[in-house]
Subunit: 394 residues, 2 copies
């Protein structure tokens, strides 16, 4: 039989990262291409203790069907935490537990967008989210990144040009892949522009807790007196990604529609994962754990950035050191043939992702690579940057 | 702000069942409306042993990101199991692990259907799946159920009338809500009709293992020499629903597209759940466990059916005793006011779902209720049927 697929899915190829990650998972490859937490960053003892306790004390709750919105005590706990730590969440907001923050992007697009509607995103941006938007047949418009986050003048221009913009997608903190952080002034400008044009903001904040110097600026959701911000959070980076627990904090009518969408999508997220997160937040010192993993990642970032100093000194590579997050965005000289560079690194067992994988317009020429410093061991970091220096002829 | 939603989601109201289930979860309500496994049907000791072992021996594998297709050993194990037990799965097929079988419906619709395309389903049918189809803006056509499954003559008529039919959705075994099973002869006719019209079949088989007398007929996928059947399976009814592990077995190009869709939807299903299922299938006697839960549900079914004998004798209620599954479909006399009946039962603390909740055409008049016998305790079964007899004036 000849299979034909929906138009929206025909437009969507498997992600380049996904193919590169297959290479990455080969033994012996140094993984600068991934975005995995470091194994030593997982609170494994806590997970063991909590799992044994939950399965001893309330096994049926761990295994039975649950409700689509998510485990009620966890929803309340996360709401309170967001209020206290981030001053995020107003009277009219509600919260839904999702299968990772990725599902927030999926549900938001599903409930808000018809095919052909416009979504605005930073370019480059997280390919997983861009592909989610594409999988609903939306038109994407890209706003270039600057050192202090998206170019809000371009954003304003696009908002004036485009009809049917449904939301503006941003990763304000330690952006993936750019590593940059949206300045407080630009956050206000973004919020005002969205409000003036009647457009929602989808604020994706998986990295906000991973701050290695200074402070993460206030989230956009904390300014949301008008009910225009959907805030996506995740336990993937501070607890573990394999459990797939994320959430959306947003105006109640949007959460209600997302709940109907999730019910039709996967009924509810794995309840054992939700109980685990709830017990972890209740019984363990999350702040101390976050401080511990920040120390791990700060040190890994410094190893990577320090190791690339020869290339920087030789003008073979340029980066802004990220103040948090998991990624280093490196600009290479304009004449660099990126495919050749990536392949040369891979031939020497170092996997990196070419910057063009992250652009809103497919095939855009970008003389940059994204490097991840959370996944490799310290030894791999030292070896890997030595290889990159070598490939750059330094 | 005034929120506007996508056309496809505007068409989709929260499910009636969902609202009734909220009532059901009130303390003191006898739950004939749900579809939960019985607590005593969960292999809790096995889950405890496996969880402790996995978290002791390979904690990082339980917590780290995994691949979208699912845990490779589990995929291979399920494929082999389907081949050996059901003779399902050809050379050209592949298998993806999903977040419950519900996600198979979601991904299949997403990759196969444009808005306005047609999907054919039995009427009545599982409301969760119908809502998934609706959430992608497809047009639904219903094929009435008979005692031996869908009316294939009506199916043929619809296939002749309709353009752009993308698939035929069927729950062939112990259908939800109808309780009936598609006869072997009709399975062949369905397959031939689909093949002749170039239409796929989405075979949803969550209940096939729950057989209380005789044998479950061969699945439609076992006849699939032409690559036209997407088979959806689940561990929700034989292991536990809260872990959200299901799968699709389908031609490789369809699985490949579903994988791209799932990557954009939730990246992967909770990996701990997948490792748990894999270890359970490897180290425990699944067939013995299924035999045990069949004995539990057979006895519950008999309690419910036997308890309703007075109403049957008084012609106040009619049902075909289901040979498996979790549900009893009861026809009531034509003059019965269904809303009043449901409310009268609820006033006496028994929750049931009116049959109209399951129709393909919303608002269709159906003089029937769906009763679930897996969730209530044996005491609740006895009390609940006494209440129903009373409400029926018997």
């Amino acid at each position: 039989m000849e299979y034909t697929f929906s138009n929206k899915m025909n437009a969507l190829a498997p992600s380049a990262i996904r193919e590169i990650l297959k290479a990455t998972s080969q033994p012996g490859i140094i993984p600068f291409a991934a975005g995995n937490p470091a194994p030593e960053a997982f609170p494994t003892d806590a997970v063991r203790e909590i799992s044994a306790r939950l399965l001893a004390e309330r096994p049926i709750d761990c295994l039975q069907y649950s409700i689509t919105e998510g485990y009620t005590p966890l929803r309340e706990r996360v709401r309170l935490d967001l209020q206290q730590r981030l001053h995020a969440g107003a009277q009219g907001d509600d919260l839904i537990i999702t299968s990772g923050a990725q599902q927030v992007m999926d549900l938001a697009t599903k409930v808000l967008c018809n095919e052909g509607d416009c979504v605005i995103a930073e370019t480059p941006s997280f390919i997983g989210s861009l592909n989610t938007f594409r999988s609903y047949g939306v038109r994407l418009r890209g706003v270039p990144l600057q050192d202090d986050g998206m170019d809000v003048d371009v954003l304003e221009k696009i908002l004036r040009e485009e009809k049917n913009v449904r939301f503006i997608y941003t990763i304000p903190n330690y952006q993936n892949p750019g590593g940059c952080t949206l300045s407080p002034a630009k956050r206000h400008r973004l919020y005002e522009l969205a409000l003036r044009h009647g457009v929602l903001i989808l604020e994706d904040n998986p990295y906000g807790d991973l701050c290695y110097e200074g402070e993460t600026p206030p989230c956009i959701k904390s300014m949301d007196t008008d009910g225009i911000v959907i805030y996506a959070g995740s336990f993937s980076k501070i607890l573990a990604p394999g459990i797939r627990v994320g959430y959306a904090l947003a105006p109640q009518p949007i959460i209600a529609k997302m709940t109907v969408g999730k019910q039709a999508g996967d009924v509810h997220s794995a309840i054992f994962s939700q109980l685990l997160v709830d017990a972890w937040m209740q019984d363990y010192d999350v702040a101390a754990h976050v401080a511990k993993i920040c120390a791990i990642y700060r040190s890994k970032r410094d190893l990577m950035c320090g190791g690339l100093a020869p290339a920087v000194a030789a003008d073979a590579l340029r980066f802004r050191q990220p103040a948090g997050g998991l990624f280093l965005w490196c600009d290479l000289p304009a004449q660099t043939e990126m495919l050749a560079f990536t392949q040369a690194a891979l031939a020497k067992s170092v996997a990196v992702v070419p910057g063009s994988a992250f652009t809103v317009e497919p095939g855009e020429k970008v003389n940059a690579v994204r490097l991840n410093f959370s996944t490799p061991t310290n030894d791999q970091l030292r070896q890997g940057v030595a290889v990159l220096n070598e490939v750059l002829g330094v």
